[in-house]
């Protein structure tokens, strides 16, 4: 049966976060920078969302590759940039009781017959957060300082993923 949601061959860059919770907004801020830098690239879509799990999987439908940018907390110094895959996402402060994890969501989507990036074509860029609990319009200084670095990391990640696709 042909999929109702066919492959587009494109790459999705998606920032996750809450714009009004301090460092939780960092993924959105990185995505905003990337949107202006990648304007005019027909093979890349830059977007944002607020939630992982099933919702994030649904945003990836039709794409061949995805780069997810989000705040993370591992105990490293704030602003540290982490490179992760769906298999290596740490189970720390995350998602909620109201959802499933991303690998489960991706497996579910594939069984529903939609086109999704392969697990190895989903990259996660995590920016170590300091404050994930206070409402604020701003990130903390160390995390703010990491934004341009995270932007460059995403661009490099994008290049390396696309490089891998060339014959």
């Amino acid at each position: 049966m042909p999929s109702k949601y066919p492959a587009t061959g494109k790459t999705l860059i998606i920032g996750l976060g809450n714009p009004i919770v301090a460092d939780d907004s960092v993924g959105l801020r990185v995505a905003a920078e990337l949107r202006s830098l990648l304007t005019g690239r027909p093979d890349v879509d830059v977007t944002e969302d607020y939630w992982g799990g099933l919702r994030l999987m649904e945003r990836m439908i039709g794409y061949d590759r995805a780069i997810v940018i989000d705040a993370i907390r591992t105990g490293a110094p704030p602003g540290t940039i982490h490179h992760l895959t769906t298999a290596s996402v740490p189970t720390q402060k995350s998602a909620s009781a109201h959802d499933v994890n991303l690998p489960t969501a991706l497996a579910f989507g594939r069984r529903a017959g939609v086109h999704l990036p392969a697990d190895e074509d989903v990259r996660l860029i995590g920016i170590e957060a300091d404050d994930l609990i206070n409402f604020s319009d701003e990130c903390t200084p160390a995390v703010t300082a990491a934004i341009p670095h995270a932007v460059q990391e995403v661009l490099q990640q994008l290049d390396s993923m696309l490089e891998g696709q060339k014959p």
Binding site: L16, N18, P19, I20, V21, D24, E48, D49, Y50, W51, G52, G53, L54, L56, E58, V68, D70, A71, I72, R73, L84, V89, P90, T91, Q92, K93, S94, A95, S96, A97, H98, D99, V100, N101, L102, T104, A107, F108, G109, R111, A112, G113, V114, L124, G126, A129, L132, I133, N134, F135, S136
Partner: protein
């Protein structure tokens, strides 16, 4: 039982942490559930224009932004003392019905349902949405995905954005729908009714035909004698968007019925030294602790409590299921916590029928979807039934509409006390003389998962899993054992 001294050490932050205190005999004395709470929202809102609050408040919760948006919008109506035209109310209720049906679907198939569809004793690795597919069939994946995508598409179409509707304004909504959009919403709603019927049939086949499951649902370990809260329409039928708040006692009889604006006469919020969370209770009954009974002001605000607080459902198919629900489970009120899963499915059917009812109302394509407010803003309360319980927004402004005070009682918060009680009851059956029976985590998880609790509003960070940590403590608070399980 030794008196438990609560010191600041036990006032712990965390996510999904449960502290079980044992008495000197090693039996369960008390259980405390710790849920993280984002801080400083009230301060964040102070000094802002009140019109911004439906858009700000919907960001405090990653699970139910639409519920906050709607409660906030209704609070704005009250702040500006403006009554939206009928078309606006219908459009709001239409979007809200679509949201509730979509949200409940996620809970049943991804979270609550696996406990029953795959089985409460099935290995953890199989008790998830993939296990449901394996058991029921591949086609279920496509049905669930379509239901979610259709719901999100309509919310985007009506609300103007894929995430966080930018739609509700005091006196109405910012845009209406045209005939072409109405037809599409109607068609998707008809599909959704079929999906809801399919889901109820699945529940009937897998759960209700299994005597063991029905006995588990009805078992005392998962039952509480508490008050039940829900919003009802003029006929005392369940309504998610508007009506009066009705509270029935453990005997099923109506005790209170009030307008949302009067909530503070009926609901008080208790602060416990060991938790940052508040514990709402019925003011006129009083707080007697985390206990059952007619003398205890503990209440539930859940899909189950909404059914108990009503006399029926406003739509025909859902009402037939409502009657079947009470016939099967022994009349009103139904108090077993696990019956909440069935109640949630009945609410999906109601929401989808209401979706089509509103989508076929000629007035929803009217251009008369807003009246401009002319009164000086003051103070207002807005209330809706969020999927997880009655949601109340209360705003106070100065005469320019600048926010002076915000108070929110969110869905899950209503249920803080009964969740603690449910966890305790499940734990009591599984911990005897300091020995923990295998399966404690599963049973405890089932007890509070039925409430669909919303942890960690909005703070999610990298997509991962929600860890449930249970710590056993002696009467002095020393940790004896620590158990962790990842949900989802």
């Amino acid at each position: 039982m030794k008196r438990i001294s609560i010191d600041p050490i036990t006032r712990l932050e965390g996510h999904g942490k449960i502290d079980i205190f044992l008495d000197d005999q090693g039996d369960v004395a008390n259980c405390y559930l710790q849920i993280p709470e984002l801080r400083g929202f009230e301060k964040f809102c102070e000094g802002r224009q009140v019109e911004d609050l439906p858009n700000l408040t919907q960001r405090i919760c990653g699970v139910c932004p639409e519920a906050h948006h709607m409660a906030g919008t209704k609070a704005l109506d009250a702040v500006f003392r403006v009554d939206p035209p009928p078309a606006a109310k219908k459009l709001r209720e239409l979007l809200y019905s679509v949201f509730c049906a979509t949200d409940h679907t996620t809970h049943f198939y991804a979270l609550g349902g696996p406990d029953f569809v795959v089985g409460p004793t099935a290995p953890k690795a199989e008790r998830n949405i993939l296990g449901v597919i394996n058991k029921v069939g591949m086609e279920i994946a496509g049905k669930v995905l379509k239901m979610r995508r259709d719901g999100h598409a309509i919310i985007k179409m009506m609300g103007g954005r894929a995430i966080h509707p930018n739609w509700g304004v005091p006196g109405g909504v910012s845009r209406g729908i045209n005939e072409e959009q109405r037809k599409e919403i109607e068609q998707l709603g008809r599909d959704a009714i079929e999906f809801a019927k399919f889901s109820l049939q699945l529940f009937a086949d897998v759960v209700l035909k299994n005597t063991e499951y029905v006995e588990l649902i009805k078992s005392d370990a998962y039952t509480h004698q508490v008050y039940n809260m829900g919003t009802v329409d003029a006929n005392n039928h369940v309504n998610f968007y508007d009506g009066k708040i009705r509270v029935v006692g453990p005997d099923g009889k109506e005790r209170f019925k009030y307008d949302a604006k009067d909530y503070r006469d009926y609901v008080a919020e208790r602060v416990e030294p060991w938790s940052y969370l508040k514990f709402p209770y019925l003011k006129k009954v009083g707080w007697k602790g985390f206990v059952d009974g007619v003398e205890s002001g503990v209440y539930r605000a859940t899909p189950l409590s909404r059914l108990n607080a009503a006399d029926g459902m406003a739509t025909p198919l859902a009402n037939a299921e409502y009657q079947r629900f009470y016939d099967t489970l022994g009349g009103k009120p139904v108090q077993p916590t696990l019956a909440t899963h069935w109640a949630r499915l009945i609410e999906i059917l109601y929401a989808t029928e209401n979706w089509v009812r509103l989508a076929t109302d000629p007035e929803v394509t009217s251009k008369d979807y807003r009246v401009l407010p002319t009164e000086t803003p003051t103070e207002g309360v807005g209330c809706v039934e969020a999927p997880r319980g009655t949601l109340t927004h209360h705003y106070v402004t100065d005469e320019r509409g600048i926010v002076k005070k915000v108070n929110l009682i969110v869905g899950t918060t209503n249920n803080n006390a009964p969740i603690c009680m449910s966890v305790k009851k499940a734990a009591q059956g599984l911990i005897k003389k300091g020995k923990v029976t295998e399966g404690l985590l599963n049973m405890v998880e089932m007890a509070f998962r039925a409430y669909d609790p919303c942890f960690g509003c909005a703070t999610h960070s990298l997509p991962g899993q929600m860890p449930l940590e249970v710590r056993l403590r002696d009467p002095q608070g020393n940790v004896l054992d620590r158990l962790t399980q990842y949900m989802g």
